[in-house]
Amino acid sequence: MTKELMKGNDAFAEAAVRAGVEGFFGYPITPASEFLEYMAKRMPELGRAFLQAESEIGAIHMVYGAACAGVRSLTATSGPGLSLMSEALSYIAGTEVPAVVVNVMRGGPGLGNIAPSQSDYNQMVKGGGHGDYFPIVLAPATVQEAIDHITLAFDLADKYRSLVFIAVDGNLGQMMEPAELPPMRVLPEEPPSWSVYGAKDREPNILTSIYIDPPDEEVTNIRLLRRWMEVEKNEIRYKEYELEDAEIAVISFGVAGRICSSALRTAREEGVKVGMIRPITLAPFPTEAIRELSKRVRRILVVEMNTGQMLNDVKQAVGGRVPIEFYGRIGGITPLPDEILEEIHRVNQNTEDIADGQEKVEWLERLEARIERGDQ
């Protein structure tokens, strides 16, 4: 296969087709709508199910139904849509059926705006819906990575009968990049044995998330947790950048991580011994890798396009071992490499301790000063 120049959302949708999606159900929302539009054309060509639902609630419950029927199914949405889907996400997790949700994130809260953001970190990583459950969350930084994550998401969803989110920053959905698509997956001939497809010559399959007797629910919760522990053991993914001799480290995910990596290259050229960990699985989180890293560096800078949601997970991993600083752009603003470079230099020169919580106070002072100056 050769690389083609593709718009993010179109490429992700085609990747989903090739990953063997047999049911797509969605509702228009910027900046994810191209995904829906692409599927509207492509799925019927292949005789697969496509439906524009009446709402995100409808869409995700259709995904839930199709997932119970044992086919690969997904939806693509953005924050406000994901909020509406929270109900079904919990049911999908509670019923232990595989499903994939692509969240092309935009600025919030509320209606917010349609510019890129990473402010749905907590919503996805911490579950989003009610009850004890543990979705897998992937965070691609390039169009190619997002394409690869679509296949990975379905493989993980099937393997663990789990809900998998792909946290796509709005930039990725909208940008064009050269990328390579996977080959077309041959669709399975037989439905999974646990799914509903008609009880011919077997006992009925019942798929439910209700366990009315607390001991049954407790056993279910234990099963979900044990499965999650397996996920934590096997599926943590992250990328390391120039960590061998690093004295300070950046931790950043998705598009923010990509911008950081370019700032990092410049900083290296300017003599700063800086490295980076870019979590690829936000859940399970690379806690151990960050803990180990915190034993080798003297300072950590967390960069996100939100008010510091992953920051809390980083803090937990670091356990106060080294000072942690934070830099974020919010409201749908993407930071520029120069901005991050400035931060890297500042962090590199800073030797002061920072009390827990103070990193945000200081960040806000710097950010507000920047806004005041009229800098981008």
Binding site: H61, G65, A66, A69, E87, K200, P204
Partner: protein, 255 residues
């Protein structure tokens, strides 16, 4: 030797279980009618039921075929997802009035708008059963419930909704009828309607719903007989029995 003929037996689509339903509740009757129809049409082995949230949340315990359990009101969306990817299966929802006519109003209306090729069994007993007798969208004017203790005041609590009439106005609806389960004659008519609603799906004719007026003695604080009388007298007069939408091709069906 006297020749024996079996006149009554448990349908294969029904599990040999005692239901959890209250004495005098018509859920069991409605379940049995569905099971008989699935047997008679020979479609048990491809049937997929979608259970609601409400008293019939455990409907799948009583049916001998594949079943899923939907979130409150979302059964038509879930059924849509199943039917679209498994068009050769028979997919039906079984929903109460709170489920279908309140929290799930958008899902049922849009399933009808799309002419979704599913069958809907709608149990209207004018009350929330499982949560303990609160006002339903179908609670009659003046009816006392735990959340309308002074009686349903339509000025502040709105009017009961007539779903069969409402869905009959939608082009995508092929079959929308109301029957009642308050006496044997109406039970027999209900079964015929259920049969037709499944035939509609089997022939790919689109969206079919049978509304069944049902009893809830426990929450209405009636004896079983009083509860059935309430259905036959009060409910039937607010919710007239009849065929609200029978598309021409459905009318032509020989059932």
């Amino acid at each position: 030797m006297i020749e024996m003929e079996v006149v009554y037996s448990r349908p294969e689509s029904f599990t040999p279980t005692t239901t959890h339903y209250c004495p005098g509740c018509t859920h069991g009757t409605a379940h049995r009618l569905v099971a008989e129809v699935l047997d008679e049409m020979g479609i048990r082995e491809k049937a997929i039921g979608v259970a609601p949230v409400g008293c019939s949340v455990f409907a799948y315990d009583y049916f001998n075929h594949d079943f899923v359990e939907a979130a409150h009101g979302r059964a038509p969306a879930m059924a849509t997802g199943i039917k679209r990817v498994r068009p050769n299966n028979t997919v039906y929802t079984y929903q109460g009035d709170g489920d279908l006519a309140s929290i799930g109003m958008a899902e049922i209306v849009h399933a009808a708008i799309r002419g979704e090729n599913i069958t809907v069994i709608f149990i209207n007993n004018a009350i929330y059963g499982m949560t303990g007798g609160q006002m339903a969208p179908t609670t009659l004017p003046g009816m006392r419930t735990t959340s309308s203790p002074g009686g349903r005041d339509v000025e502040t609590m709105g009017y009961p909704v007539r779903m069969s009439e409402m869905l009959s106005t939608i082009d995508g609806t092929s079959y929308a009828v109301r029957r009642s389960l308050h006496n044997p004659a109406n039970v027999r008519k209900s079964k015929k309607a259920i049969r037709r609603a499944f035939e509609v799906q089997e022939r790919g004719m689109g969206f079919a719903m049978v509304e069944l007026l049902s009893s809830c003695p426990t929450n209405l604080k009636f004896t079983p007989q009083q509860a059935l009388d309430f259905v036959g007298d009060q409910m039937v007069s607010y919710y007239p029995l009849g065929d609200y939408k029978v598309a021409p091709e459905v009318k032509a069906l020989k059932v």
